[in-house]
C-alpha cells in the first residue's frame, strides 16, 4: 500500500466538488425553510423545557409590590422563592417588612440590635435566612454573647437612580430602632445602577467599538437581552462562565461595569464614589450624634474575588482599587470599613461562593461575609468586646480583618 496516495473515498468532501448541475424546486426551498423552523422550534422547546425541569425558578416574591422603580414589602408576610442555580428558600418579613427573625418593636432588655442598610445581598437574596450573613451573625453572636442579637435589614431597590439618597433616607428608620450598630452594605452593582449624566459608559473598554466585530457583538448582546428570561440561556451562562478565567476575561471586556476593577477608575466611577461618599456622610453624622458605631461593609462580587485570587494573570487590573476607595470614604467619615474580599479570595472554595449566572453570593459566600463582619463587630462594638468568638453557624473569628480606623 502506498502511504501517500490520496484516500479512495474522500467522504468529508461536500457537494462543492460536484458540478453545479442540480436545481432546487420551489417545493424544496419551502421544505428546507420549514425544516429549519421546525428544528429551531424543537431545539428551543426541548432545551427550555429541560432547563426549566432541571433548574426550576420562582423569582416572584409574593410579598413585594413594585411601583415604578420602588418596591414595597407587605409586613408579616412569607414568600417562597428559588433562584435557578439555588435552593428553594422561604422569605419571612416581620411587622416592619424587614427580613429579620426578630420583631421591630421596642428593643428587648438585654438584646443587641444591629441594622443593615442595603439592597439584595444585605437582604440575603436567594438564600435561607439562616444561611444569610444576617442570620449567621444573629446565631453566632447570640451564642457567644449569651444574649439575644437581632439584625434588621432596611432594604431598598438597587434598580433606581436615587440609590444613595434612598440609602441615606433609611437612616431615620434605622435610628428609630435604637440600634447598637448600623451597617451600610455597598456593592459595585448597586453603584453601577446610577449613571452620571456626563458619563459615556464604557469609555475605557478595550473593545474596538467601531469594528464590524463590535457591531456584531452588540447584536448578540441585544439577542441575549431578548432571551434574558430563558432558563436554557441561564444554564448556558452558568456552564460557560463556571471557568473563572473565562468569566473574568469576558467580564473585563465590558467597559463601565468592569471599570471599578481598573486602577484609577473611570470618571463615571469617581462620580459614583462621590454619591456613596455623600450617603455615608449623612449616615455617619446621624450615628455619630447617637454614639452608635457605623460600619461600611463591602459586599464583594464574583469578578473582584476572582481577580483578587488570580491577580498575577491580570496585571492591568487592580482588585484593591474599589475596596481602597471605599476604605478611604469610611476613614473620612469615621466609619469602620469591612472588606471580606481577602477571606473569600483565599478560601479553598473561592470559585464556589457565588451563583455564576445570577451573580449573588450563595450560602458559602454569605458565610465569609458574616465572618468578616463578625470580626469587625467584635472589635468595634463595646457591648460585644466581652463576647468570645463562637464557631457556631459556621462563623469563626478571622485574624485577617483590618478595619479602617478613623
Amino acid at each position: 500500500m502506498s502511504g501517500i496516495e490520496p484516500a479512495p473515498a474522500a467522504v468529508e468532501r461536500a457537494d462543492i466538488d460536484r458540478p453545479a448541475d442540480k436545481r432546487l424546486s420551489l417545493r424544496d426551498y419551502l421544505l428546507l425553510f420549514l425544516t429549519v423552523i421546525l428544528t429551531l422550534a424543537f431545539i428551543g422547546c426541548v432545551s427550555e423545557f429541560g432547563a426549566r425541569l432541571i433548574w426550576p425558578q420562582q423569582d416572584v416574591d409574593q410579598c413585594e409590590t413594585w411601583v415604578g422603580e420602588n418596591v414595597t414589602v407587605a409586613p408579616n408576610c412569607r414568600a417562597t422563592v428559588k433562584a435557578a442555580e439555588g435552593q428553594w428558600v422561604e422569605y419571612h418579613y416581620n411587622e416592619c417588612a424587614s427580613r429579620s427573625a426578630a420583631s421591630c418593636g421596642p428593643k428587648p432588655a438585654n438584646a443587641l440590635r444591629f441594622v443593615t442598610i442595603g439592597t439584595s445581598i444585605s437582604r440575603g437574596y436567594w438564600v435561607a435566612y439562616s444561611d444569610s450573613f444576617s442570620g449567621r451573625l444573629e446565631q453566632s453572636l447570640g451564642r457567644s454573647c449569651k444574649r439575644p442579637v437581632e439584625i434588621h435589614n432596611l432594604s431598598y431597590s438597587a434598580y433606581q437612580n436615587r440609590t444613595w439618597e434612598t440609602a441615606a433616607q433609611q437612616t431615620d428608620r434605622a435610628m428609630q430602632l435604637d440600634p447598637d450598630g448600623v451597617i451600610l452594605v455597598v456593592s459595585s452593582f448597586d453603584m453601577l445602577q446610577w449613571t452620571p449624566p456626563s458619563s459615556s459608559g464604557g469609555a475605557t473598554a478595550p473593545a474596538a467599538s467601531s469594528t464590524v466585530a463590535a457591531d456584531f457583538v452588540s447584536i448578540l448582546g441585544q439577542l441575549r437581552g431578548s432571551a434574558g428570561d430563558s432558563r436554557a440561556m441561564t444554564m448556558a451562562m452558568h456552564f460557560a462562565f463556571e471557568d473563572p478565567d473565562r468569566y473574568l476575561r469576558f467580564f473585563i471586556q465590558h467597559g463601565d461595569s468592569a471599570d471599578y476593577l481598573r486602577p484609577g477608575m473611570s470618571p463615571a466611577w469617581h462620580a459614583r464614589l462621590e454619591m456613596v461618599d455623600a450617603a455615608v456622610g449623612k449616615i455617619a453624622a446621624a450615628t455619630k450624634a447617637a454614639h452608635v458605631p457605623f460600619f461600611l461593609l463591602l459586599a464583594p462580587l464574583r469578578p473582584g474575588i476572582l481577580l483578587a485570587h488570580s491577580r498575577a494573570e491580570f496585571p492591568d487590573l487592580d482588585p484593591n482599587a474599589f475596596p481602597n476607595a471605599l476604605a478611604e470614604i469610611a476613614r473620612r467619615h469615621g466609619a469602620v470599613f469591612v472588606d471580606p474580599t481577602h477571606l473569600q479570595s483565599t478560601a479553598p472554595n473561592w470559585n464556589e461562593l457565588y451563583m455564576v449566572a445570577d451573580g449573588h453570593p450563595n450560602a458559602r459566600g454569605h458565610q465569609l461575609i458574616a465572618k468578616a463582619l463578625q470580626d469587625a463587630l467584635l472589635e468595634n462594638v463595646g457591648a460585644l468586646r466581652t463576647c468570645a468568638a463562637s464557631p457556631a453557624a459556621g462563623v469563626t473569628r478571622s485574624a485577617s480583618l483590618q478595619p479602617a480606623q478613623p
Partner: protein
C-alpha cells in the same frame, strides 16, 4: 484577523459580494488582489514590518520568471536558495542565531506561501508552466486569503482550474461548510482544549498508578482529537469561504482516525501537504535513488528511506525548535517502520496471506488503535516543549506512560471500530434512493442545530459576563 472567526466570515462575504458584482474578469482579479492585501493589512499596517515578507515574495516571483524564461537552468540551486531564505526569514533553529534579523517582522502564512512558491519554482524549472506568470496572478495565488494562514496547499494549476459557478445549491453547501467548520473549531475543539487543560491542571493531584495511567491515556488521546477538530474545522470553514468566490480548495482530511496504519494515516491527515510532498519530495527522491540502485529487490527498502526523509520533513516543517525536529523523526520513523514491517512481513508470509491478515477485522481494529495511539504520543513533541515533556515524564513515570499508551490503543481499537460500524449502519438506511443521513433535510437539521449552538455560545460569550441579575429586586 483570526481565521476562523465571524469577523473573517463577514469580510469574506463582503468581498464575495463585491467580487460577483464585478462582471469583468480583470476587475474580479483586481477585487481579489485588494481583498488579499486587505486581509494581510489586518495583521499589520506598518510597511516596515512587511519587508522580509515582501522580499521573499519578490525573490520568488523573479525566480519563477527567470526559470520560465530558461527552464532547467540550475533548478536545484534555486530550490536550495529558496529553502535557505525561507528558513532564515522563519528563524529556523538550523540557521545560526547571529545571522537572524533581530527586528520584529510579519511572517503570517509564510509556510504555506513557501509551498506554493516551491511548486511554482520547480514546475517552472521543469518547463511545466507554458504561460508567463503575471504579477497580479502570482500575488493572488500566493496570497490567497482564504488559505493563507494554514492552507490547504494548492498547486497553481489546480488553483487556476478549480473554479465553478455560484448557484443557490453551491451557496447552501458553502453555508454548510462554514457552519460545520465554525462548530468544530469554536465548540468541539474548544471543549476538548478545556478538557486537556483540566487534565494537565489535575496532574499534581494524581498519586496512584491508576490515576497516572488514566492521566497519561487522556493526554495521549485528547490532543489528536482536539487537533483534528481544530484543523479540519478550519479547513472546512475556509473551503466554504472560498466557495463563495467560486473557488475550490483541496480537501485536507478524510476520516484520518479510521486509518489502519501510519502510512494510510498520512494519506488521510493534512492531505494537501502529503500530496505536495509526494509530488516534490518523495517521488523525485525515490526516482533518484532508484537510478543509483535499480535492483528490484532493493526498491522496497529505498521506499522506506524515501518515506523517512519525506515524513521527517513533514514533522520538522511544523515548527522552528528542536522539539519539531524530534517530532519529524517520530513521523519519519513511524512511517518508515510501518513500510519496513509491510515489506518484511510480505516477504515472510507472502502477498496473499498478508492481504488476508490486513483484511482481518480484529487485526485491522488493533492496527487502527495502535495508529491513533502512536500519533497521539508523537504529538507530545508538537504541543509541548522539552521542559513540559520532562515534567510530564517525572509526574507520570515510565510505567504509567507505557500503560497509558496501551490503554489508548485498546480503547481506540474498540471505539473506532464501533464508530465505523455505526456509520456503516446509518449509511445503510435509505429512503427511496437517498441515504437518509446524507439527505439535504437531515443535513439541514444538523446544521440548524450547530448554528443554534454557535449562536448561543456567541451570545453568552460575547455579551457582558453575568454579574447580578436582579430579576425583581
Amino acid at each position: 484577523m483570526f481565521v476562523p472567526s465571524y469577523q473573517f466570515l463577514a469580510f469574506a462575504i463582503l468581498a464575495a459580494i463585491v467580487y460577483h458584482l464585478a462582471r469583468v474578469k480583470s476587475l474580479r482579479t483586481a477585487v481579489l488582489l485588494v481583498t488579499n492585501l486587505l486581509f494581510l493589512a489586518s495583521f499589520s499596517t506598518a510597511p516596515v514590518l512587511w519587508i522580509p515578507f515582501a522580499v521573499f515574495l519578490l525573490f520568488g516571483f523573479l525566480t519563477v520568471r527567470f526559470l520560465q524564461a530558461r527552464p532547467g537552468s540550475r533548478l536545484a540551486v534555486w530550490v536550495i536558495v529558496t529553502v535557505v531564505l525561507f528558513c532564515w526569514i522563519k528563524r529556523y533553529a538550523v540557521i545560526p542565531s547571529a545571522l537572524l534579523l533581530t527586528a520584529p517582522y510579519v511572517t503570517v502564512g509564510l509556510s504555506y506561501i513557501f509551498f506554493r512558491l516551491m511548486s511554482l519554482i520547480i514546475d517552472a524549472g521543469q518547463g511545466v508552466h507554458s504561460e508567463r506568470l503575471g504579477v497580479v496572478e502570482y500575488l493572488n495565488y500566493t496570497l490567497n486569503f482564504t488559505c493563507l494562514t494554514a492552507g490547504p496547499i494548492q498547486r497553481y494549476e489546480d488553483y487556476r482550474e478549480a473554479r465553478f459557478q455560484i448557484t443557490p445549491i453551491v451557496l447552501g453547501e458553502a453555508a454548510e461548510r462554514i457552519i460545520s467548520g465554525l462548530f468544530k473549531v469554536m465548540i468541539v475543539s474548544e471543549l476538548l482544549n478545556s478538557w486537556l487543560k483540566e487534565v494537565i491542571a489535575a496532574l499534581p493531584a494524581s498519586h496512584t498508578l491508576m490515576e497516572h495511567t488514566t492521566a497519561a491515556a487522556l493526554l495521549i488521546a485528547i490532543y489528536p482529537v482536539y487537533l483534528y477538530f481544530n484543523f479540519s474545522g478550519y479547513t472546512t470553514f475556509v473551503i466554504g469561504c472560498a466557495a463563495l468566490f467560486g473557488m475550490r480548495l483541496p480537501e485536507n482530511f478524510d476520516r484520518p482516525f479510521t486509518a489502519v496504519n501510519f502510512l494510510e494515516f498520512w494519506s488521510r491527515w493534512h492531505i494537501s501537504l502529503s500530496n505536495w510532498l509526494k509530488s516534490y519530495v518523495y517521488n523525485p527522491l525515490l526516482m533518484s535513488m532508484m537510478r543509483r540502485s535499480p535492483r528490484p529487490s532493493v526498491v522496497p527498502f529505498l521506499a522506506v528511506i524515501a518515506y523517512f526523509a519525506t515524513f521527517f520533513l513533514v514533522g520538522a516543517w511544523h515548527g522552528q525548535s528542536s522539539e519539531f525536529l524530534f517530532f519529524g523523526l517520530l513521523q519519519g520513523g513511524g512511517v518508515s517502520a510501518n513500510k519496513l514491517y509491510q515489506v518484511l512481513l510480505t516477504e515472510r508470509i507472502g502477498r496473499q496471506r498478508y492481504k488476508r491478515l490486513a483484511a482481518n477485522p480484529l487485526y485491522a481494529a488493533i492496527c487502527r488503535g495502535l495508529t491513533f495511539a502512536w500519533f497521539g504520543l508523537t504529538l507530545f513533541w508538537f504541543w509541548s516543549n522539552w521542559i513540559q515533556l520532562h515534567g510530564f515524564a517525572e509526574q507520570l513515570g515510565a510505567a504509567a506512560l507505557f500503560a497509558g499508551f496501551a490503554l489508548v490503543t485498546m480503547v481506540a481499537s474498540i471505539v473506532l471500530q464501533a464508530a465505523l460500524w455505526t456509520r456503516s449502519r446509518l449509511e445503510d438506511v435509505h429512503l427511496a434512493d437517498t441515504q437518509v443521513v446524507r439527505s439535504r433535510y437531515v443535513r439541514t437539521v444538523f446544521l440548524t442545530a450547530m448554528a443554534v449552538v454557535l449562536l448561543i455560545s456567541g451570545i453568552v460569550l460575547n455579551s457582558p459576563a453575568p454579574q447580578i441579575v436582579y430579576k425583581t429586586f
